[in-house]
Structures are given as C-alpha cells and as structure tokens.
C-alpha cells in the first residue's frame, strides 16, 4: 500500500506538469468605455487571464460588428462605430463561454451623442456640435484625466471582481443547511410512506 501510494504521488507530480489549462468554473468578462474605445477584460475567476482569445462582437440582431483578440493580460480594446447594444462573446474552450452586453448608454460618449439610427456624415458632428467639440486642449486634458482615472480605478475593479467571487463561509454553511433540510424532509416523507404501508400495531 505504501509503495502504491508513493508511486501514485510521483505519477501525480509528473502529470501535474502536463496540465496547463486553467480550470476555474467561472469566467469573468467586463467592458467599459475608454475614450472613443471600449476596453474589456476576460479571465477566469481564479485570476488567470484569457490569453489570445477571440472575442466576437455582435449587434442584438445578430450582425457581426467586429472581432478582437485578447492580449497576454486578457485585455482587449474595440472601437465601436455604431450606437447599438454590443454583445461581446468569447469562447474559452471546455464549456467556458464569456458573454456580456453593453447597452448604448454604456458606449463611449462620442458615439451616443450623434448617431440615432443612420450613420452620421462626418461633417455633421463638427457643424452641429458646439458642446462636443471644445478647444483641442480641453479635449486632450479630458482624455488625460479619463486615462488617469481609469488607471487608478483598475486595481479597484480587480478587487471588486475578486470580492464578488469570494465564497463566504456563511454561503457554504447555508448550502449544507439546505442539504440537511432536504434530507430531513425526505426522511419525513419516506418514514411516512413506510408507516402507511405497515401501520404500527
């Protein structure tokens, strides 16, 4: 038995080296507007990023809007061109599919302003949009501030995502409690059945 055990341990270590794929149950995907682009992140709930995964972007009516690849950190950027809800979908293999949807209100602001259905002529926005086009300096400053805020927020976003994945002891105990309760109910039911079959003398 001892020898069997030690050989099994060796085999286990050898095999462990060959297992490379991430094996988390949950896939986390999210996206947010960043300037005139959409930045997104895809990864597993244990923190592993989804590397070199193809993310396809479709409109609600099924049209393909584009396709992007995630980088080594599981991040991708996509430049939206239409003011329709975007559905991002990535297949991570082995039954792991990441899918999330961004409504029009979540898209980059530049896109929300002008387009209502038909694609706008490029000149239209400059002619009719004094609010959008301020001086180039102000626009650059705004972009810088947005970038800085995004950079500051990133660790926070990670933390919140990790926190959401955290399974508290209460939840686990609650689950076990449910199982105990179900067993109790089944016990009652089965005992009831048995008593009906053989009434007590």
């Amino acid at each position: 038995m001892k020898r069997l055990f030690s050989t099994s341990i060796v085999a286990l270590l050898v095999l462990a080296g060959s297992a490379s794929s991430a094996l988390a149950h949950k896939v986390i995907a999210s996206g947010y507007a960043a300037g005139d682009k959409i930045e997104g992140e895809v990864g597993f709930s244990n923190g592993d990023p989804a590397i070199n995964t193809t993310i396809s972007i479709t409109a609600p009516d099924g049209r393909t809007l584009g396709e992007v690849q995630t980088n080594a950190e599981g991040l991708f950027t996509f430049t939206p061109t239409e003011a329709v809800p975007h559905i991002f979908r990535g297949d991570l293999g082995a039954g792991h599919v990441a899918e999330f949807r961004m409504e029009v209100s979540e898209l980059p602001r530049a896109l929300q302003g002008g387009t209502a259905g038909a694609a706008p002529a490029p000149t239209a926005s400059t002619a009719s949009g004094p609010a959008v086009t301020a001086s180039p300096d102000a626009a650059a400053l705004q972009a810088m501030i947005a970038q800085a805020v995004r950079d500051e927020m990133r660790p926070l976003k990670h933390e919140i995502a990790a926190y959401k994945e955290h399974n508290s002891l209460q939840t686990i105990l609650g689950g076990i409690g449910y199982i105990l309760g179900l067993v109790g109910i089944s016990f009652y039911w089965l005992a009831h059945q048995r008593l009906k079959k053989q009434p007590p003398q």
């Binding site: 038995m1 085999a11 286990l12 095999l15 988390a24 244990n46 686990i172 689950g175 067993v183």
Partner: protein, 205 residues
C-alpha cells in the same frame, strides 16, 4: 467541469434536461430510508468539494467526488448530485440554471455507470484489491465525465478531438487525486465498517 449558460445549443440543453429528469425519477425511486443519510452526506461532500481548489502547477483544479457517490448510492447519485449542483449554481454561480440538466447528466451518469461496473470489485474479500477498484471508480468517473462534457460540446458544434483533449488533459490531476481519495475511502470503509456497501444494497426500492 461545470458548463456555463450559453455554451451549448438549445437542443443539447433540452436533451440533457429530459435525460436528467429520467435519471432523477429512477434515483428517487431507489432512494430508501437506509440510503438517505448517505445521499445527504455525499451531496454535501460534492457541494463542498468543488470549493476546495488544489493548486497544481500554474492552474488549480477542484474535486468532484462523483465516483464515490456512484459506488455508495447507485442510481440515487442522481438526486444527490443534482441537489449539490443546484445549490452551487444558485449560491456560487457555478454552471447555470439552464444547463443544470446537462451538468447533472455529465456528472451523475458516469457516477451511476461506474457504480455498476465497480460494485463487485469493492466487495472483494481482500480490502486492498477492493481499494484498487475504488481507485478505478474514482478516476474512471472523472474520465467518463470529461467524455460526457466533450460530447455535450461536440453536439453543440465544437470539434470533438480538440474539445475532448482539452477537457480530458486538464482533468488528469483530478483523476489521480480522486482515485487516491476514493481508494482510501473504500479501504477505510472495508476496514472499519464492511457492512456499509452491503447494507445500502440490501433494500432495493
């Protein structure tokens, strides 16, 4: 191991649900008063086992423990594992409610099959040989589960060989661990209370 919502075609989801309802019906019928405590404990074991992540190399894997459930419960593994999966889906978001049928089938059917195959083996007079059968049950159930997952993915339009390979290879560490755990469990049961397996079989519904 838990297939998530949206990964499968609706035909596969519905098919899995129908087959699972059948399995549940059979399982509930064979669930007797004597088996019920064991079913509850194994259901809880399965529920908690998936939370225990074993870090292996660059990734981590979690236990499933369906082989042991199949050995002890037979068809009653269906309701036991179904309850565990349902609670995991609701509480932790593992898998999802629409794919619950397919996930139950993928995990419980191998358990039942393995239970049928290894039933005689774990009753072998020599507890060590019985433990070897237990190891076979533990890792065999995982292997069959990966196969079922691959089939579900293929029926939804993925290529079989890459899908099966990915799922199978990534679960090799779990097969080894569950084989050891299951062997230890069978060995312990045979040493401490050899009547467990027999007493659970003695009262078919």
């Amino acid at each position: 191991m838990h297939i998530v919502d949206g990964a499968l075609s609706s035909a596969v989801v519905i098919g899995g649900a129908v087959l699972t309802v059948g399995g549940l019906a059979l399982g509930v019928r064979s669930l007797t008063l004597e088996k019920l405590p064991a079913a509850g404990i194994l259901s809880a074991t399965f529920f908690v086992a998936s939370l225990i992540h074993v870090p292996i190399g660059p990734s981590s894997v979690h236990l499933i423990m369906n082989g042991l459930a199949g050995l002890v419960l037979g068809w009653s593994a269906f309701p036991a594992l179904f309850v565990g999966l349902l609670l995991q889906a609701v509480f932790f978001g593992f898998g999802g409610l629409t794919v619950l049928g397919v996930n139950t089938l993928n995990i419980a059917l191998p358990a039942v099959l393995i239970g049928l195959v290894c039933q005689q083996g774990i009753r072998h007079a020599n507890p060590r040989i019985a433990a070897l059968w237990g190891a076979l049950a533990g890792s065999g159930a995982i292997a069959l589960t990966t196969l079922c997952v691959a089939v579900a993915l293929v029926l939804s339009g993925q290529e079989f060989i890459p899908a099966a390979k990915l799922v199978f290879l990534s679960h090799i560490p779990i097969m080894v661990i569950e084989g050891l755990v299951c062997a230890a469990a069978v060995y312990l049961i045979r040493r401490v209370n050899p009547t467990v397996f027999a007493s659970l079989e003695g009262h078919p519904a």
